[in-house]
């Protein structure tokens, strides 16, 4: 009887643990890459990895494509390698796609990155989950969306996440631009379309916007990189055609934002 009690207790504890514990690494087919090679140390247990937000995209007619996988996973792994090299953060070599619908899993990954948010279309439940994530201390970095129309799409979901918190321009003096590198001089970081078009902007997004949302204590909890494509800069940073100064700024921004998140 006593043994049964102990065994059932252990079983329950394991069940609870399984329910709470963070999800293992998993891969999804991307829009641009499939069967991207895994680094040999991808199973290593580490303190940090960047979480990539899985979200539903807006429909264009009958079609809805997985815009959350843009640049995935090449961009993530380049950035993670950079973080390993440039900082003392114990970093995994592979990213972690995170779905806000996966129970409490999102809360295990305090640094969340969302790409192409000019196409996201979050449900109310997802908005509520991301809101709770941010208020508990999580950090969201959004990137790679351009022009007025994509801004409006972004706002349509973002305004349901934190309706009471305004979006503001980040001041040059904000610590987020000075945690590791002093980034007073910033410029538009173009996407890979530059290879063909020669333009640094997309749509009507001529000027890069460094925006953010502050919490009640004056800490940035959402960093909004509008009219730029840092994701492409990380992704193509090993391509000689991609200008070094954009790649460098993208890495510095990525590292600064991460250090900021880990210190604020």
């Amino acid at each position: 009887m006593r043994i049964c009690f102990v065994v059932s207790g252990l079983f329950l504890a394991l069940l609870c643990l399984a329910a709470y514990a963070q999800k293992e690494f998993r891969e999804y087919p991307g829009v641009e890459y499939e069967n991207f090679p895994l680094p040999p140390d991808y199973r290593d247990k580490t303190e940090f990895t960047r979480a990539r937000l899985i979200y539903p995209s807006v429909r264009y007619g009958w079609r809805r494509f997985n815009s959350w996988t843009i640049d995935y996973p090449r961009s993530d792994r380049h950035l993670l390698a950079g973080i390993r090299r440039l900082t003392r953060i114990d970093t995994r070599s592979v990213e972690q796609p995170v779905n806000p619908d996966d129970g409490d899993d999102i809360f295990n990954w305090p640094f969340l990155y969302a790409v192409e948010v000019g196409h996201w279309d979050l449900t109310d439940a997802q908005c509520g989950k991301i809101r709770e994530f941010l208020l508990r201390g999580g950090f969201l970095m959004v990137d790679d969306f351009h022009g007025t129309q994509e801004w409006d799409v972004f706002i349509a979901s973002m305004s349901r996440i934190l309706p009471e918190h305004p979006i503001v321009e980040l001041d040059n003096k904000d610590p987020i631009f000075h945690t590791l590198y002093d980034l007073d001089e910033r410029f538009q970081v173009a996407g890979a379309q530059y290879f063909d078009s020669g333009k640094t902007y997309e749509k009507d997004g001529y000027e890069p916007r460094w925006r953010g949302i502050y919490d009640d204590k004056g800490r940035v909890m959402v960093a909004i990189c509008h009219n730029m494509d840092l994701g492409d800069a990380w992704e193509w940073s090993d391509d000689p055609r991609y200008p070094e100064k954009w790649a460098s700024l993208a890495y510095r921004i990525g590292v600064n934002y991460l250090i900021y998140d880990m210190t604020h």
């Binding site: 394991l14 247990k45 303190e47 900082t87 003392r88 295990n108 305090p110 709770e132 250090i259």
Partner: protein, 750 residues
């Protein structure tokens, strides 16, 4: 009866010595007895008595020998040599406790009235033989002319002080004895040894008469209330309330802590068995800076005999300073972020952080000026000692120089700072801390092997010590708190900290998922003037991220942890009083411990203390250095009225100010008299026994006059009292002869 049989009172025998007034030297007496016994034996043996002759002869021989010895002893004229007071030439001091506790009614009559009745019986006989002086005893002894002067109104009883005064009188007056009528409820902590020694040296016996019930039937009494003398503003503080009760076992009562009219905390408790002592903690928030008069009480129950002893007041200084904690972290990680966030909301403790963000770049937060920590970890003692606590995160020990290692030891040992080691890839055993001075400082003996840091889920559980610790108190109720800890989300890492040292307290343990073993998670210990601790995980941040934003478990724990680190850290000037409560006295001893910026004792400082009284008036006293202890300064302050006082000592060396220290104390008049109101018979008996007197019940008080007669103090003469004609001797002789006659009759020889 004793006096009828032995002719003199017992005291005469106890104080006198036996002498022989007979016609020969006393050594002849046993010789003659032996000779007589032998002759009697020889005569009786010749006339043996029939059957069983040996036993009968022996019995008769024994009785006759005893009778013969008794007669010889009486012939030798035994006598008692004893000192007796000369009539009407000696003074007997009759001291009557006139404190408020003598107004208590035991069984219907007031103790004061019982004392008056006893005096009515005692004084006439005393006055016939001695000059009697009446004293009224309160905080001192005051001479009065009539027993009517006793009103039981004095606010305190200081028996020792009163006796000392009478001893002083005896230097010029022939005081033959002291008669003390009291309930023994002394408020000065008992009678000091010097007074007792002096009484013994002067051979003045103290005869004591005890009044009052030795046990109240229905009463709850607070025995002690312990609160910290100082606290940081906004801290969770515990008042430990100890009490005892009789007559209410098993009943419910409410314990309350108030500040003025504000109730700070209240809880219902179940009263223990009669006579058993119980101690209950009551938690409350210290509030804003200033002096708190904390009144702890148990609400009186119907029928209590003495409700006045249900309440005690304590004074606590709530500090307005903002201690600074230096947290050095070796790598950016989530634990660092969430500890910082927890401390962001604490406005009374400042967290200064130095983070090794890259191999060659540090990121500083919370610094007071751009120069602070510019060169990394402080290299000078005065810089490091400016912080009240130090946290070492996932940081290789070798990143610090050996000189900095030694500074950290001195930071704890000499400066009195708090030190917390955190787990991590480069923390504890992984960081190379298994070497001097960290092996001394750590509250654990680190494991000798590596790979002690595990990235795997673990839960946490409180130990018994942790249940009592304020660091771990997430909610006030201890039971609910323990359950709360069990339900905290998992931590995603844990570290083997090694074995806790003797004297260290393990407050919490980590339980790796699916494992049976438990590992110490939170261990604390005192070290030198400071304290050290280990938190063997860097995964507590999930308590924040995996719980609703309204849940404050993570913030509460880390704030309390950090406050524990700094609360006991002294400043360069520490001002103290022997007790925060000065009962029925105006004299307050102030003691200041003064150190310089490196926390070395400063014997060459100028120290002044400014004291502000309850009415807002202030006074300044100069504190004098103690030649025996460098850096110690002392002064005595006279608190003119009852109430709360705050004293601030300022130490200067030349024009430089070394620091300031604050102490709060409270003068209470007449409060102590409400406590320990049962008759303290033990004290009265001890006082009487140790001075050559006796303890009496009120009904026996009239016998004191005879006892006092045989006192060696005052003006006495040595008397020789015949003992040969004591009735008991004649009765004994008669019994011996009758015994022999009865035996002979039984054997048929008569």
């Amino acid at each position: 009866m004793f006096e009828f049989l032995f002719k003199y009172p017992w005291t005469a025998f106890s104080k006198g010595s036996l002498v022989w007034l007979g016609f020969g030297p006393v050594w002849v007496l046993p010789l003659v007895i032996v000779l007589g016994a032998a002759i009697l034996g020889w005569l009786l043996w010749r006339r043996r008595f029939g059957t069983g002759a040996v036993a009968r002869t022996a019995a008769v021989w024994a009785l006759q020998t005893a009778f013969f010895a008794l007669l010889l002893a009486m012939l030798w004229q035994p006598a008692l040599s004893v000192a007796t007071l000369k009539p009407q030439q000696n003074i007997v001091a009759v001291v009557v406790d006139d404190s408020r506790s003598m107004a208590i009614r035991d069984g219907g009559s007031m103790r004061r009235d019982e004392a008056r009745h006893a005096l009515d019986r005692l004084l006439p006989s005393l006055s016939q033989r001695f000059q009697v002086r009446l004293y009224r005893l309160g905080q001192s002894a005051e001479r009065v002319q009539s027993p009517r002067a006793f009103q039981a109104t004095a606010p305190a009883t200081h028996i020792g002080d009163g006796l000392r005064q009478i001893i002083a009188d005896s230097a010029t007056l022939p005081v033959g004895a002291v008669v003390l009528l009291s309930d023994g409820a002394d408020n000065s902590g008992g009678i000091d040894l010097d007074t007792l020694s002096e009484l013994r040296a002067k051979q003045i016996p103290v005869q004591t008469v005890g009044f009052g019930s030795e046990r109240l039937d229905r009463d709850i009494e607070l025995l002690e209330v312990q609160t910290p003398q100082s606290s940081l503003a906004g801290s969770r503080v515990a008042a430990q309330i100890s009490f005892r009760q009789r007559g209410f076992a098993g009943q419910k009562a409410k314990i309350v802590v108030r500040d003025g009219a504000n109730i700070l905390a209240m809880r219902e408790i179940t009263l223990p068995a009669d006579g058993a002592q119980q101690s209950e903690p009551l938690l409350f928030q210290s509030g804003n800076p200033g002096v708190r008069n904390l009144a702890a009480s148990i609400d009186p129950l119907p029928g209590e005999e003495n409700p006045a002893n249900n309440r005690m007041t304590r004074v606590m200084e709530v500090r307005g300073d903002k201690p600074r904690i230096l947290y050095v972290e070796g790598e950016p990680r989530w634990e660092f972020k969430f500890i910082r966030r927890a401390m962001d909301e604490d406005h009374n403790v400042q967290l200064v952080t130095l983070l090794r963000a890259t191999q060659n770049k540090n990121y500083r937060q919370g610094i007071a000026d751009p120069k602070e920590l510019e060169e990394g970890f402080p290299a000078r003692r005065e810089d490091l000692f400016g912080y009240s606590a130090l946290v070492l995160g996932s940081l290789e020990a070798n990143w610090l120089t050996p000189a900095q290692h030694e500074m950290i030891r001195e930071f704890v040992d000499r400066r009195g700072g708090g030190l917390l080691f955190l787990a991590g890839r480069f923390g504890l055993a992984e960081g190379g801390y298994a070497k001097e001075p960290f092996t001394d400082l750590l509250p654990v003996t680190l494991p000798s092997h590596r790979n002690t840091y595990h990235i795997a889920p673990a839960y946490v559980d409180l130990t018994m010590a942790g249940r009592d610790s304020l660091i771990c108190r997430l909610v006030d109720d201890p039971q609910v708190n323990a359950e709360r800890w069990k339900k905290l989300p998992y931590m995603m890492n844990w570290q083997e900290p090694g074995t806790p040292k003797a004297g260290a307290a393990v407050l919490a343990e980590s339980i790796p998922g699916g494992a049976r073993n438990r590992y110490p998670l939170l261990v604390t210990q005192n070290f030198g003037r400071g304290r050290t601790s280990v938190f063997a995980s860097s995964g507590s941040w999930r308590w924040q991220m995996l719980q609703p934003v309204e849940d404050k478990s993570h913030e509460t724990f880390w704030r309390q942890m950090m406050r524990w680190l700094v609360t006991g850290t002294p400043g360069p000037v520490v001002l103290t009083t022997p007790s925060p409560i000065v009962a029925d006295d105006s004299r307050v001893k102030l003691r200041a411990e003064v150190r310089d910026k490196t926390y070395t004792p400063a014997p060459d400082a100028q120290v002044e203390a400014r004291v502000i009284g309850p009415d807002g008036s202030s006074g300044t006293v100069t504190m004098r250095p103690d030649p025996a202890e460098p850096g110690i300064y002392a002064a005595e302050y006279s608190a003119p009225v009852a109430g709360s006082y705050i004293a601030e000592a300022v130490a200067r060396r030349g024009k430089d100010e070394l620091g300031r220290g604050v102490a709060a104390f409270r003068r209470e008049d007449g409060v102590a008299e409400e406590f320990h109101t049962e008759q303290n018979r033990e004290l009265l008996e001890r006082l009487a026994t140790q001075t050559g007197g006796r303890y009496y019940r009120p009904a026996d008080a009239a016998r004191i006059t005879d006892e006092i007669t045989y006192s060696p103090a005052g003006i006495s003469v040595r008397q020789t009292l015949d003992l040969w004609n004591m009735p008991v001797l004649f009765l004994l002789a008669l019994a011996l002869r009758s015994g022999e006659w009865l035996l002979r009759r039984r054997w048929g020889l008569i």
